[in-house]
């Protein structure tokens, strides 16, 4: 099977250019100084099995047109599910009227940075098998087979399996002449084994990350599902029988399957420039990493190098061009432990007097405006760093944390608390068993400042999420975070049963 590089004909057959041309010319004639149009179609499938039998099934296609304008320095936006020239003209007029209505409330003039024009570009993400080309029965059978393997074990009482698969198609055009048409695919599958005991229940989930693959993700080539499922019942049984953690300070080896989420929350969101200047203050929050600290803030230890990008292969935030027609790129966010960069869209770049965007505009629906969303934000491995086994051997006394579970961080991205799927106790360089009821709690800069070992390239894994939320009305985006394993010095470990006062 080769990589697919064509956009589906039934999307290209929609009146994409006619609709965007109509909206641009109508809005321009009505006084707009800027017009951008998105014609989008996103198909999302969900299959959830409980104890290997279907519980939830959906197959939803969201399509429509969104028209955004600037008139006299004020925004206007309108959208409709109908993809037609006539509706596009109406939307253009509604958006212009909305901009005029908004003008008295807009005390700051909206402007956008200038970007190169890309005419009639197309781009398709790297995937082999369109998940929607696989029959519903075959998809169900694969999840049922993996669930049934777990249920065969006496250690497993119940299972839950979820697969979500998305195909996103976008035609973008603006009044400067840029027009792009893109298609990308992503998949997320999680399978959980549950053990019911007299003292309550415990669960353990597969560590496979969501990723920019098609249905080929569910074979054993890119992720060895069968091998992971085979190991899970014994790992779960060991967790059930393991001691409850003694709270205190421990050296912690955070596996990439857990560290990606800590990166997402404490670096990814904190370096969104719109947040840092207050645009999300009523909802998602602000950031301690304010622009006055650029190039001086010591974010973490000197081993810390973090990049932002929209072009990592199979990355969930990877595109050819963003939702403002800006080409995908990569840049530094943290260099040798110092904050050196932010995530930008064209409007935020202009608001802070920068020359260029770095391509972080995204909208999750034709009904929502593009806003600055997260690129793939990744911690770089140490090129000469240790292997995972070498890292474990190097630990005198500590805990390995694998897999993400619960996450929470404050609105300025200082204080966070995470749990995980597996907690392995290490003594004198050897894994001696699991622990349970573990959470780690820290302040962002203290935690990253305590990073004393960064794993080598062999430990690097691309993690990520489908469900990153931001903005009002709420928008959801998928994003990847690559990282190596890393060791942190003396992290505060809580016992979650003790926290509940029991």
């Amino acid at each position: 099977m080769g990589v697919n590089k064509t956009i589906d004909a039934d999307f290209l057959n929609l009146p994409l250019t006619a609709v965007s041309d109509a909206a641009i010319s109508t809005a321009t004639s009505a006084g707009a100084s800027h017009v951008d149009v998105r014609v989008e179609r996103t198909r999302t499938g969900l299959l959830a099995l409980r104890d290997a039998k279907p519980e939830t099934q959906s197959d939803e296609t969201l399509a429509g047109v969104g028209v955004r304008v600037i008139v006299n320095g004020a925004w206007g936006f309108a959208s409709s599910p109908e993809i037609s020239v006539k509706v596009a003209q109406q939307l253009a007029l509604t958006a212009v009227a909305m901009a005029k209505t908004s003008k008295p409330l807009s005390t700051q003039e909206i402007s956008l940075v200038t970007e190169p024009v890309y005419a009639q570009k197309t781009w398709v993400s790297d995937y082999e098998i369109d998940p929607f080309s696989v029959s519903d029965g075959d998809k169900k059978d694969r999840l049922a087979q993996l669930s049934n393997s777990l249920l065969k074990s006496s250690n497993v009482n119940h299972t839950s399996a979820h697969a979500m698969y998305v195909k996103e198609q976008k035609h973008y055009a603006d009044s400067y002449g840029t027009s792009t048409t893109q298609q990308r695919v992503r998949m997320q599958t999680q399978i959980e084994a549950i053990s019911i005991g007299t003292g309550g229940f415990e669960s353990m989930r597969t560590l496979a990350a969501p990723s920019g693959y098609g249905w080929e993700w569910m074979g054993n080539t890119h992720w060895n599902w069968d091998a992971e499922i085979e190991e899970l019942p014994a790992l779960l049984a060991e967790k059930v029988a393991s001691p409850s953690v003694v709270p205190g300070r421990y050296d912690v080896l955070v596996h990439p399957s857990n560290l990606w989420l800590t990166i997402h929350e404490s670096i990814g969101h904190a370096t969104e420039l719109d947040r840092a200047i207050g645009y999300e203050a009523n909802y998602a929050g602000t950031s301690f990493a304010t622009p006055d600290k650029l190039n001086t803030l010591k974010y973490g230890s000197s081993l810390m190098n973090v990049t932002g990008d929209r072009n990592t292969p199979h990355g969930l935030s990877t595109v050819g061009f963003d939702d403002e027609g800006v080409a995908a790129q990569q840049w530094d966010i943290i260099k040798d432990g110092i904050l050196v960069g932010y995530q930008l869209d064209r409007r935020i770049a202009a608001a802070v007097n920068r020359d260029r965007s770095n391509g972080c505009a995204y909208s999750d629906s034709p009904a929502h405006v593009p806003i600055q969303r997260m690129p793939n934000v990744s911690l770089q491995p140490n090129p000469t760093g240790p292997t995972y086994d070498e890292m474990v051997s190097s630990m005198e006394d500590g805990i390995i944390i694998k897999g993400d579970k619960s996450w929470s961080i404050d609105m300025q991205r200082y204080n966070f608390q995470f749990t995980g799927q597996q907690f392995h106790r290490v003594k004198s360089g050897k894994i001696v068993g699991q622990l349970k009821d573990v959470a780690y709690q820290a302040t962002t800069t203290d935690f990253w400042g305590s990073m004393k070992v960064v794993g080598g390239p062999s430990t690097y894994v691309l993690g990520g999420a489908f469900n990153c939320g931001k903005a009002q009305p709420g928008q959801v985006a998928a994003v990847s975070h690559g990282c190596p394993a890393a060791i942190f010095d003396k992290v505060n470990i809580l016992n979650t049963v003790a926290e509940a006062g029991k």
């Binding site: 399509a63 925004w75 005390t107 519903d136 998809k139 007299t198 229940f201 009523n282």
Partner: protein, 460 residues
């Protein structure tokens, strides 16, 4: 665009499967968003969602499969039906099967969707502009959001189901910051038509709370008697509802599972006369009196569409009464069929007065503004974690004496049920974290004893 009713008639009459349900949602919305006292985004939105669910008789039950699209033309109907039938066949006999309702009519089937639009803001927007101007001259920065949404849902079936409901809902959220953003406060108000929104009241609240923050005292982590405003109570107990699925409890996978098997229904959970219920006839929070769902989940079943929703007590007089059921899980658990309704009402016997009255009853404790970033830590105890946000106040001798730092907390709403010291009267309220997702809640403010503030958060 073809009307919802016509579309449903055309699809259900073209369907050759054993039954077919079509759910059409027409939604219109206008929204305004602002930051640093200037408008940042806005929108006028029209959305349609059409779900076709095919049912096929199988082994004494039925299989179901669904497909959803945003804009459906007559020519798309054969393909949609074909895809729905294929999904049903692939799924096999449904675990949540129960006989489908037939020939049931509820709501004004023939009425058109009444769109909302920016005109809903005709009084609000100029008042907001005036508030922006006043705030700028007083060095206060405003951040917030206003939204009005009208959603109409039609559900029709081949078997003669004809259901319709309308949900007009809106809200205003306002964050105020001053003194180089070192002070921060929030207030939120739910509305159906913006007639109950007073910008002057919001302005006064913002100013009073920013003034309360003139004096700041650092307080350490620890257990505090804590006043939760009604919106925070809504955020906390929404999580309890989300883990109230009967099957999860019955199968040992929730805080409502009884050790050794079965559910905790019948167990006393609260130290006070605590009532928590859903009721489609609750005057202030109108809600549909029938099940309407386009997808099956642990909480809902497409087979239950059109089944009546009545008053359901989740907790009555402090005793757990009901868990969220489909008809299939009701049979499995041998409990009554108690579907999740569209509102949630809490009251505490003897609870009266306002938040201000509650403050006067606390000798030494904390007053919160809102919770934030609430997540489950341990599902066995429903231990949740989260932050406080936009103002924590030290209350001494029944008065607010100053502002203090934010905290990360770890506590459980189930455990909190037995630590209720005082309650206010029940009021229509807006959760903070789940605003927009969870509406139609009436809650009291509560004083919870020994709330676990786990660490100090430097976040502001």
């Amino acid at each position: 665009m073809i009307s919802a009713q016509d579309l449903i008639e055309k699809i259900t009459s073209a369907a050759t499967c054993d039954d077919c349900i079509v759910v059409v949602k027409d939604k219109t919305q206008a929204n305004l968003r602002w930051a640093s006292s200037t408008l940042t985004t806005n929108g006028v939105i029209t959305e349609r969602n059409v779900t076709v669910i095919a049912f096929i008789a199988q082994d004494g039950g039925m299989a179901a499969g669904g497909v959803s699209r945003t804009d459906v033309h007559e020519s798309d109907i054969p393909q949609l039906l074909e895809q729905a039938v294929a999904a049903a066949k692939a799924a096999g006999k449904a675990e949540d099967f129960a006989p489908l309702a037939t020939n049931v009519s509820l709501g004004d089937w023939n009425g058109q969707h009444v769109p909302t639009g920016p005109e809903i803001f005709k009084d609000f927007a100029p008042a907001l502009g005036d508030m922006f101007a006043r705030s700028v001259s007083h060095d206060i920065e405003l951040f917030g959001y206003a939204e009005h949404t009208h959603e109409t849902t039609w559900i029709g079936s081949k078997g003669g189901m004809r259901l319709r409901k309308d949900s007009p809902v809106g809200r205003v959220e306002m964050t105020g910051k001053s003194h180089q953003r070192s002070r921060s406060t929030w207030s939120g108000i739910e509305t159906r038509d913006f007639k109950n929104v007073s910008v002057a009241d919001i302005d006064a609240d913002v100013r009073q709370r920013l003034n309360w923050q003139a004096k700041k005292v650092d307080m350490p982590a620890g257990h505090y008697d804590t006043i939760l405003p009604s919106g925070s109570v809504a955020d906390l107990f929404t999580y309890m509802l989300w883990v109230s699925g009967a099957r999860d409890a019955f199968e040992g996978q929730s805080v409502f599972s009884k050790p050794g098997g079965g559910t905790r229904v019948g167990e006393k959970l609260s130290n006070v006369g605590f009532q928590f219920f859903t009721d489609p006839n609750y005057a202030q929070l109108p809600a549909a009196n029938f099940v309407a769902t386009a997808v099956s989940s642990p909480f809902s079943s497409v087979f239950d569409n059109g089944q009546p929703i009545k008053h359901v007590d989740w907790i009555k007089d402090g005793v757990l009464q009901s868990l969220i059921q489909t008809r299939a899980t009701a049979a499995l658990t041998a409990l009554d069929f108690t579907p999740l309704g569209e509102n949630a009402i809490m009251s505490v016997d003897g609870g009266k007065g306002s938040l201000t009255d509650l403050i006067s009853k606390v000798d030494d404790g904390l007053l919160l503004t809102t919770f934030w970033y609430i997540r489950m830590v341990d599902p066995n105890s429903l231990l949740l974690t989260g932050l406080t946000r936009d103002g924590v106040y030290h209350v001494k001798g029944g008065e607010v004496v100053g502002a203090t730092n934010n905290f990360r907390w770890n506590d459980s709403p189930i455990s909190a049920l037995s630590r209720i010291a005082h309650a206010s009267a029940t009021e229509w309220t807006q959760p903070r974290e789940w605003a927009g997702d969870v509406t139609n809640m009436a809650m009291p403010a509560l004083v919870i004893k020994d709330f676990n503030m786990s660490t100090v958060s430097p976040g502001n």
